[in-house]
């Protein structure tokens, strides 16, 4: 057999003509970097990604502006610190976390639901690089977008408060920068938890239900229970993570900011490890 001449199967230029029974190929080895590029290709091409990013901005900044512009102007006091004021203005994070969680869940359940997972895993049969790539790509998207949201929220809220005669906020006030950056870190870990739930449950409805239960329903139920039996509440993902960005609902009884964040990261690590174990083990 001579060199392949069919247009569709012609080797790329620079690759030597194939020997008989050993046709040339254009495909190189799978590397983690390549799988990250592949996952980024999917994520950026999906419309849902753009809509989700847009709604996160609207929810965080919009709700922040509403909070800052309503009620009496915020004035600093011993209990009303600048950090508490900013975390109140970041109330929209509680809604945005649902959007972010959905993006995370869909990153896997969307592939299982459509069947694309079979194509994905057939070309990356080692499987785990796909999970790591999704973690990297989603966290790499959510962190900058939510950082942007949080800082926008801060500047919009601070501008509104000062125009209404409230106290003047500064990023150098104690805890303010931590609160603003912390809200973005919180949402970044939330997307990883969503991703792990999507990988574990495979079905969008199941993954989303569990996510919504953990991040929305259970905190509300626990908050309404007698305090005596809710000692565990500060370890719930929402409350532990809320300790970092000072979620106003949990400031009273909370872990220290970075301990709380570490607990939240612990959930993400455990769930991701379970997802990895299952991804290796189960049939696709």
């Amino acid at each position: 057999m001579s060199a392949i001449t069919r247009p569709g199967l012609a080797p790329a230029q620079g690759i030597p003509a194939p020997a008989p029974m050993a046709p040339a190929t254009v495909a190189g080895p799978v590397t983690q970097v390549r799988v990250v590029r592949a996952e980024w290709t999917k994520l950026r091409a999906l419309r849902s990604t753009r809509w989700s990013a847009l709604s996160a901005i609207v929810l965080i900044v919009g709700v922040g502006a509403l909070v800052a512009g309503s009620g009496t102007p915020y004035r600093f006091s011993a209990s009303n610190t600048a950090a508490v004021g900013i975390s109140t203005a970041l109330l929209g994070v509680l809604f945005a976390q649902l959007v972010v969680g959905m993006v995370g869940v869909l990153a896997f359940s969307g592939e299982y639901g459509t069947g694309m997972i079979r194509a994905t895993l057939a070309v990356v049969p080692a499987r785990l690089p796909v999970l790591w790539a999704k973690v990297i790509v989603l966290a790499g998207l959510v962190l900058p977008v939510t950082l942007l949201c949080a800082f926008l929220d801060y500047f919009v809220a601070a501008a509104i408060e000062s125009s209404r005669g409230g106290s003047a906020f500064s990023l150098s006030d104690p805890g303010v920068l931590r609160t603003v950056v912390g809200s973005a870190l919180y949402l970044t870990v939330v997307v990883v938890i969503g991703l792990a739930l999507g990988a574990l449950f495979r079905k969008t409805a199941a993954g989303l239900s569990v996510f919504a239960a953990v991040f929305f329903v259970i905190p509300i139920i626990v908050a309404s229970l007698p305090h005596k039996i809710t000692g565990f509440a500060l370890y719930l993902p929402t409350n532990a993570g809320g300790a970092l960005w000072g979620d106003p609902q949990t400031t009273a009884h909370a872990l220290s900011p970075w301990t709380g964040f570490a607990v939240l990261c612990g959930y993400a690590v455990v769930l991701t490890a379970l997802a990895a174990w299952q991804l290796r083990r189960r049939d696709a």
Partner: protein
């Protein structure tokens, strides 16, 4: 080359693939046949490492596929179920797969052209017809110019032009020295495309043979003889290994011998022959005969 050895896969208490062993050689198109539920798709999924065998091994080009360093160079696969993201364009679907192996955009455009998808490459795959979806799946399987190509029902939903495209494509892939395993329920299409056959029934290997041998062995391959003396000719031909069927008319169906021998025997016995016609079982007839006992889902009234 695909080497399958003692492959077994159970789903719950149902054994989908049961101690299966066969080899698919490079350089020819190998047809993968079997009734619905025979285990073809399960076997193909195990070849691609998507399902884990309960026991047995699969080797693709001599390697354990899940640990192949460059998987897309080894194996390209089209699965029976859809495996594209409907929210992504055809090009984005292909590009996402290509990126994992560092395959260029140029190659992506090449397979888009090859599969006849150039006009719809930018539209979302969710709106594709069954045939377009198949073309996209075949394009994905060819992306990495793999040494081994496995296609599950590639002509499903294709128009006549597409069917012809697949036929020529499979033959040219085999001519390039690649290993080609293809399943289909369209026996006439398979008869035109495949050289070798692997036939499954209820998860087990029924036959591994060339298409010619497979149809030669089937009932219906033989000689049709018309004579005014059917009884005498029948007695004359009777011998071990030779079957003569007479339905009471002047027609005999003889198998196990040749038209030449029947003609010579009749001439020696001075028996007149009005017709002497060698007949061949079609691939479909041969297939029906060997798989009759292993059909999982009977069509009720017809059988």
């Amino acid at each position: 080359m695909i080497e399958i050895d003692g492959l077994t896969k159970r789903y719950g208490d149902k054994t989908a693939v049961d101690g299966l062993s066969f080899v698919v050689e490079p350089g020819v198109v190998t047809g993968f046949l079997g009734p619905n539920g025979a285990g073809k798709s399960t076997t193909m999924r195990m070849i691609a490492g998507l399902d884990r065998p309960d026991s047995g091994t699969v080797r693709v080009n001599g390697k354990h596929y899940p640990r192949a360093p460059a998987p897309m160079a080894e194996l390209g696969i089209l699965l029976d179920a859809r495996s594209v993201h409907p929210g992504l364009s055809a090009r984005a679907n292909l590009l996402a797969l290509a990126r994992t192996a560092g395959i260029s955009r140029r190659r992506v455009d090449e397979v888009i052209d090859l599969a006849g998808l150039a006009e719809v490459a930018g539209t979302r795959a969710g709106g594709f017809s069954l045939g377009m979806g198949q073309r996209l799946g075949v394009a994905a399987a060819l992306l990495g110019q793999p040494q081994t190509v496995v296609l599950d029902e590639p002509v499903n939903g294709l128009d006549p032009d597409g069917v012809r495209w697949i036929r020529l494509l499979l033959k040219s892939l085999a001519a390039e020295g690649r290993t080609v395993l293809v399943s289909s329920h369209l026996m006439s299409e398979m008869a035109q495309t495949a050289t070798q056959l692997i036939v499954l029934g209820r998860g087990k290997l029924i036959t591994e043979a060339s298409v010619t041998d497979f149809t030669d062995r089937a009932a219906g391959t033989g000689v049709l003889v018309r004579t005014p003396e059917p009884v005498r000719l029948g007695q004359l031909l009777a011998a071990p290994g030779i079957t003569v069927i007479n339905d009471g008319t002047d027609l005999l169906r003889v198998s196990g011998t040749t038209a030449e021998q029947i003609g010579a025997a009749a001439w020696r016995a001075h028996l007149p022959l009005y017709e002497l016609t060698p007949t061949h079982a079609s691939l479909e007839e041969a297939f029906m005969q060997v798989t009759q006992d292993s059909i999982e889902y009977h069509a009720g009234a017809t059988r």
